[in-house]
């Protein structure tokens, strides 16, 4: 904890707060009927994206999942563009053509949220391969869930990254549920780190409610990858607050399960507690950030609502570079 500067701590808090407020607002607007299609919200999991992506620059690339807003924001994708994209407007990051499940910004090293479970890991092997062949020290990080951890593509990618010694990090964000099915039911191992060992890959587990634990664990893995030490696997144990998708009433979860988690383990609450008790940040500094973020999210919604949908002229464009 002490190795992070004050500015870094403020950035971490701002990042998590931005993701949280973004997701809560999308939840509210979706419930009002203002957002088309499907959204899958990251609220509750902020420490994972933040703790990991804080180590990265634009040359590092990440691949995400259908639950991709948090990874996008943590990787530096513009919040205004993201909200507009979710609303399906022409000012969106993907010009309204991708939507929530396909938000990407290659300039920021964000290879996209992905509508295919397990779609990301092989792509990240490609990122690692490109860095390795060019002799650059960038890394690729594949975020995926407990559901995707069993997908053939994920397992193939883990093997490939190991045999080719690629600078890739495989991060399973284990929130305990693949849609409605618990990870206990579907995942054959108790510890994902053990599964990584089966591939000859170092694996660690960390508490995804604890920003500092995630940050430290990720730092080691990223350092290993950058220095040519090959791939790593990180299990981040965390919880999602909302359903698999918005509209999911979550009847498969235990009584008051989410309320309990919020009361005891909320990552923003735990962060605030730790930094104030250690006199690293003042509550007032974080309150100021809360206010700024609230304004930012508010503005993003106003702008998104006001923007136009893409013109039908753009229906047929951007399929190929040339045809």
């Amino acid at each position: 904890m002490s190795e992070l500067s004050k500015n870094q701590l403020l950035d971490a808090y701002r990042m998590m707060r931005t993701i949280r407020d973004f997701e809560v607002r999308v939840h509210d607007e979706f419930a009002k009927g203002g957002i088309p299609g499907f959204v899958h919200l990251y609220a509750g999991e902020e420490a994972s994206a933040t703790g990991i992506c804080m180590h990265l620059n634009d040359e590092d690339r990440i691949a995400s999942t259908h639950r991709g807003h948090g990874h996008c924001i943590a990787k530096g994708v513009d919040v205004m563009g993201m909200m507009a994209e979710i609303y399906g407007k022409e000012t969106g990051t993907c010009k309204g053509k991708g939507g929530s499940m396909h938000i990407a910004d290659l300039d920021r090293g964000m290879l996209g949220a992905n509508g295919i479970v397990g779609g990301g890991p092989p792509l990240i092997c490609g990122v690692g391969l490109a860095h390795k062949m060019r002799g650059t020290d960038g890394v690729g990080i594949a975020f995926f869930g407990d559901g995707a951890s069993n997908q053939g593509t994920t397992l193939e990618a883990m093997n490939l990254a190991t045999v080719w010694n690629l600078p890739c990090i495989f991060v399973v964000e284990n929130n305990g549920y693949a849609e409605t099915t618990s990870s206990e039911w579907s995942v054959s191992c108790d510890s994902y780190a053990d599964r990584a060992a089966g591939f000859g890959m170092p694996g660690t587990t960390c508490d995804g409610h604890d920003f500092f634990a995630v940050h430290e664990t990720a730092g080691e893995a990223i350092k290993r990858a950058r220095s040519g030490g090959g791939p790593s696997f990180i299990e981040v144990k965390l919880n999602r607050y909302y359903g698999h998708f918005e509209g999911d009433s979550q009847t498969y979860r235990g009584d008051n399960e989410v309320e309990k988690i919020k009361a005891e383990k909320d990552c923003l609450m735990l962060f605030r507690k730790r930094v104030t008790e250690a006199n690293l940040l003042d509550a007032s500094e974080m309150d100021a950030i809360d206010k700024e973020v609230a304004e930012l999210i508010d503005e993003s919604v106003k702008k998104a609502e006001a923007a136009a949908e893409p013109s039908v002229d753009t229906l047929l464009t951007d399929v190929y570079v040339s045809y």
Partner: protein, 334 residues
């Protein structure tokens, strides 16, 4: 007169020349070197039919054997392409598309559109296709119509050594995902191929024979059978346009339609199974855009709706033959 090399050698030469020219071109696939990690000979195979032999000696680590994990390494090729590499990944047999299709059609093919134009995915996926080897049901399919269906993917199927070299170089230099399909029965076909690198544009058909009585559109190896039929019928005074589209996506509609407007009679020869094939695609094109020119029903010559059989007698009955094609042309002329 240009020297003659085989179709297979032309593929090798295209890869070699492009790898020499551009350090971002990398090649990967199962056994494309052959022997990596093994105690014996390196470059033991150079590909299961020797197509990539010799590239390891010249280009070293830029050609790599992969584990048998198509989703993993085809996906890696796609991911590397989004980072500006130009990977040429080999899917050994097109029949294996089932184990990696998502990375091709849902990822590579859709990035540019889904991401609002920002992505470029210059990946080439080479694959062998076609029957005639007695390789049976899971190693003999065509399947190019399936890839043609997907927006965002380009599909190339050259029929001659000259075309295969020019189109492969074009494919590697192209900035979109390309499925580059090589008929395994054409590997030993010899033809004149210039020594220097050259490209052939996509979406430009080759007119293999010229004539005013019937339009025959053929794909891949079927182009040669169609030409054989055209030559035979020429002796009877029947002349045919034989068109090799060379790429099914993009497709040279103009050449095909112009020919039909001239002849009024169309025969499509496609080695694929018939449903949702290039045969049905070209028939649809003619029926919708050249209907008033048609003087006879469109004829299609395809394999039957069965998996490719093993026994020689059955496989020979399965693959469209010159007799089938000739019968179809005569039917179109009635």
């Amino acid at each position: 007169m240009a020297r003659k090399i085989t179709y297979q050698q032309a593929v090798n030469e295209a890869l070699d020349q492009e790898m020499a020219r551009d350090p971002s071109v990398i090649v990967m696939g199962e056994d494309v070197v052959g022997g990596q990690g093994s105690p014996g000979e390196m470059d033991a195979w150079g590909g299961v039919l020797g197509v990539t032999k010799g590239l390891y000696a010249k280009h070293g680590d830029r050609i790599m054997d992969t584990p048998i994990t198509e989703s993993g390494y085809i996906g890696a090729a796609v991911g590397a392409a989004t980072c500006g590499m130009r990977p040429v990944a080999e899917l050994m047999f097109i029949d294996f598309m089932g184990v990696c299709l998502d990375q091709i059609f849902n990822q590579a093919g859709k990035f540019k559109y889904m991401f609002g134009g920002k992505a470029e995915t210059p990946v080439v996926i080479r694959a062998m296709y076609g029957a005639g080897f007695r390789a049976a049901a899971q190693h003999s399919q065509c399947l190019y119509s399936v890839f043609t269906h997907f927006p965002g993917i380009k599909v190339v199927l050259p029929s001659t050594p000259y075309d295969v070299k020019g189109l492969l170089i074009q494919s590697i230099r192209d900035n979109d995902p390309v499925m580059f399909l090589e008929h395994k029965m054409l590997y030993t076909l010899e033809g004149e191929v210039p020594e220097e690198p050259y490209t052939i544009p996509f979406g430009e058909a080759n007119l293999v024979r010229e004539g005013g009585d019937v339009t025959i559109v053929g794909f891949g190896r079927m182009v040669h059978l169609a030409a054989e039929v055209a030559d035979k019928l020429a002796k009877e005074g029947i002349s045919c346009d034989v068109i090799d589209p060379r790429t099914t996506s993009p497709l040279d509609e103009e050449t095909i339609l112009e020919s039909i407007e001239n002849t009024g009679r169309l025969v499509v020869v496609d080695e694929s199974n018939p449903r949702c094939s290039m045969a049905s695609d070209i028939a649809e094109l003619a029926a919708t855009k050249a209907f008033s020119s048609l003087k006879a029903a469109i004829q299609t010559v395809t394999a039957p709706h069965v998996p490719t059989p093993f026994a020689a007698s059955l496989e020979d009955a399965y693959i469209p033959s010159v007799d089938h094609i000739e019968a179809a042309v005569r039917k179109a002329l009635k």
